[in-house]
């Protein structure tokens, strides 16, 4: 794997949605020795692709990017590690101003840079990363997990889900989903006429979704509440759920009793 290459030079990826901000980091990096810039990315999707392709040792990752942000990148890479044994790079987060993110970085001992990036701070952070890289210190999976969990807790539920296909990865906004169906180890996200497949279980995705928007209605499906057109009482206290896209699903008793407030509102 590239991270174990004998050369001491550290392979770097720079991610920022604003080109001048990337140029600034690149200029600072080029003044240093022992580094190799392998790629730059201007959005979350291409950042994930670049990490998988180039296996950088160190990623300067902008936290705020429209659509999907830096934490979405970290979450996707960390999930990758579980499924595909991809090496997790070291991350240095870059942010303009973000109280809770900075708090999370400090709690979980991640380095970060504040914009506008100052030269001294930049050198200090880079030096630390180089030392760890030389010592070949492992990137603690647990620390990354802890960071993601805290950020998830702080900012609430997932707003988008990462879909991977053979050649590309992209995000789906949860508000575009009508319902989610589970099939063995896969989840099928039904979004109007389109559908997307991702690895995962209903239990884990149920936790990540806002219960104000979604409800589990039976063992193998979750619906977005606003996608429901009507519900008809069925046998045994169950309901037939008809969605705007004309799908018909069953809301079973066991899952009705889990969310009694929903039927009171409807």
């Amino acid at each position: 794997m590239p991270s174990t290459i004998s050369s001491s030079s550290i392979r770097i990826l720079v991610v920022d949605d604003e080109a001048p901000a990337r140029r600034k980091l690149l200029r600072l990096l080029r003044a240093e020795s022992g580094i190799e810039i392998v790629a730059e990315a201007d959005n979350a999707e291409s950042a994930i692709a670049a990490i998988e392709k180039h296996h950088p040792d160190l990623v300067f990752l902008d936290v705020q990017m429209p659509g999907a942000d830096g934490f979405d990148v970290v979450r996707a890479i960390s999930a990758d590690r579980e499924s595909r044994a991809v090496d997790v790079p070291r991350f240095v987060f870059v942010t303009a101003h973000d109280h809770y993110a900075v708090r999370a970085f400090e709690v979980h001992a991640f380095d970060y840079l504040l914009k506008p990036v100052g030269e001294d701070r930049f050198r200090e952070v880079l030096r630390r990363a180089q030392e760890q890289h030389k010592r070949n210190g492992d990137v603690s999976e647990k620390r990354l997990r802890g960071l993601i969990d805290q950020v998830l807790r702080d900012r609430g539920f997932s707003e988008r889900l990462l879909i991977r296909e053979e050649s590309r990865a992209y995000f789906v906004n949860v508000r575009d989903i009508s319902w989610i169906e589970s099939e063995r180890n896969y989840l099928i996200l039904h979004c109007g006429s389109k559908s997307h497949t991702m690895r995962g279980t209903l239990d884990s995705i149920e936790e990540a979704l806002d219960p104000k928007l979604f409800a589990r209605i039976n063992r193998s499906s979750i619906v977005r509440l606003d996608a429901i057109r009507e519900m008809q009482p069925w046998f045994h206290g169950e309901y037939k759920v008809i969605l705007h896209d004309k799908s018909e699903l069953r809301w079973t008793r066991r899952y009705i009793t889990r969310r009694p407030e929903l039927l009171r509102n409807l």
């Binding site: 001048p20 659509g67 506008p116 990036v117």
Partner: protein, 419 residues
């Protein structure tokens, strides 16, 4: 229907400048009204007042009799005054409804017309009142052992009571008129205060946006990068950032400003954003130059642009086009912000309005400023992105003030180009 009518009047007022959307049952945007008086309570109080009047009048008549050495008239005087007063009380709802009809029309009547209808209504009231008095007295008198009641010659009674009743009728209508006027003024004051608060909130919101650490730090970061590449460009950015902060800080206290002034703030903001995003953000303006002096609510465009940038940009990093258009449509000014971003998803309007204080604040201010004369619509545009349309009444104001000032106009002009 008098007091319920007073309460109903509040709702007709509400329909006026404040809230056209009667369909939304729980509308947090509906301005608070002066708390209506419960009808049952009002009627009880009025009944009490009429009773007191009946007692006073009986006492007047009875003492009059006593002073002329006529005694034993208490029962008959009581009967006369009680029936006189309570029949008037029964007619009160009709009286007030009539007064409502000729005093509080959507289009005011002339004084002559009001006087005519008032006289007509007063005479009708007097005739009906007199007839009711005659009937009730003739029915009740034998029942309470006073024998048959003699009301004299009715052809004289009617004109006699009419002159008396006209005075009473006019007093009631006058009291009602001023009471209702007072309530309307109260409601208007409240609405004005709310509008002022909304504007203050919008200014604060806007200030927060520009002074928003994110915006500020990211712009500074861009400058700190650009200055290594192009000192002049960095210098322009610093001037623009300063101009933008200055314009926002001294945002005027009026609700409306000339379109040219609003656009100048918009252009400075978008120009800075465009320098941050470079080729990923393209901005186009389609502004009818004849509209420079037309009035628009101030600070109305920026929340829309921020919305496009924050929520419209795709995670795949594609470029976004933002188009700002202004044109006149008969008596309306149409402002449009459209983008080629992610759009509204499955057309979930709730999700769109949930996107921040900015949009609800805009909807709110438009409602309070123009009532039914405005429109605020967010739809999925033809280009796949979001399309926001504002329609406000067209009114030309004084010439733009800030655009003409030296110093600021130079950078303003620099930012006029479409990027």
């Amino acid at each position: 229907m008098s007091l319920p009518a007073i309460i109903r009047d509040d709702s007709s007022l509400r329909r006026g400048p404040s809230d056209p959307s009667a369909s939304t049952s729980v509308d947090p945007l509906r301005p608070a009204q002066p708390s209506p008086i419960p009808p049952a309570l009002t009627w009880s109080i009025l009944f009490l007042i009429y009773t007191v009047i009946a007692v006073l009048l009986t006492e007047y008549r009875y003492l009059d009799d006593l002073s002329r050495n006529r005694s034993g008239t208490f029962a008959i005087r009581s009967l006369e005054e009680v029936t006189g007063v309570y029949t008037a009380f029964i007619l009160l709802p009709l009286v007030l409804r009539a007064a409502d009809w000729y005093l509080f029309r959507p289009r005011r009547l002339s004084w002559i017309q009001i006087a005519f209808w008032h006289l007509l209504a007063g005479i009708a009231f007097a005739l009906v009142h007199t007839w009711l008095m005659a009937v009730t007295r003739q029915i009740i008198s034998p029942l309470i052992g006073l024998g048959s009641y003699d009301y004299g010659i009715m052809s004289y009674r009617y004109p006699m009571e009419t002159s008396n009743d006209l005075v009473g009728f006019t007093s009631i209508v006058c009291i009602y008129y001023y009471f209702k006027k007072f309530r309307i003024a109260q409601a208007q004051q409240l609405a004005a205060a709310q509008l002022k608060a909304k504007l203050a909130e919008a200014q604060l919101e806007n200030l927060r946006l520009q002074l928003q650490p994110h915006f500020l730090f990211n712009t500074l970061n861009t400058i700190s990068s650009v200055m290594y590449e192009d000192v002049k460009a960095a210098d322009v950015m610093i001037t623009q950032l300063s101009d933008l902060l200055r314009l926002t800080l001294r945002a005027s206290r009026t609700h409306e400003i000339p379109l040219a002034d609003e656009l100048q703030i918009t252009r400075l903001y978008l120009d800075l954003m465009q320098k941050r995003y470079e080729e990923k953000l393209r901005v186009a303006y389609a502004i009818d130059p004849a509209l420079d002096n037309s009035l628009v609510p101030q600070l109305i465009l920026q929340p829309l642009l921020e919305n496009s940038l924050r929520h419209g940009m795709k995670p795949s990093g594609e470029a976004i086009d933002i188009r700002i258009a202004a044109h006149r449509d008969n008596g309306s000014l149409i402002l449009q912000v459209s983008d080629t971003g992610t759009g509204l998803g499955n057309g979930d309007t709730s999700a769109v309005l949930g996107r921040g204080v900015g949009l609800t604040n805009i909807r709110d201010r438009l409602l309070q400023l123009y009532g039914d004369g405005q429109e605020f619509r967010i739809v999925n545009g033809a280009n796949g992105g979001a399309e926001v349309t504002l329609r406000v009444p067209y009114r030309a104001g004084p010439r733009s003030q800030i655009a003409d000032e030296p110093g600021e106009s130079s950078t303003g002009a620099a930012s006029l180009r479409t990027s």
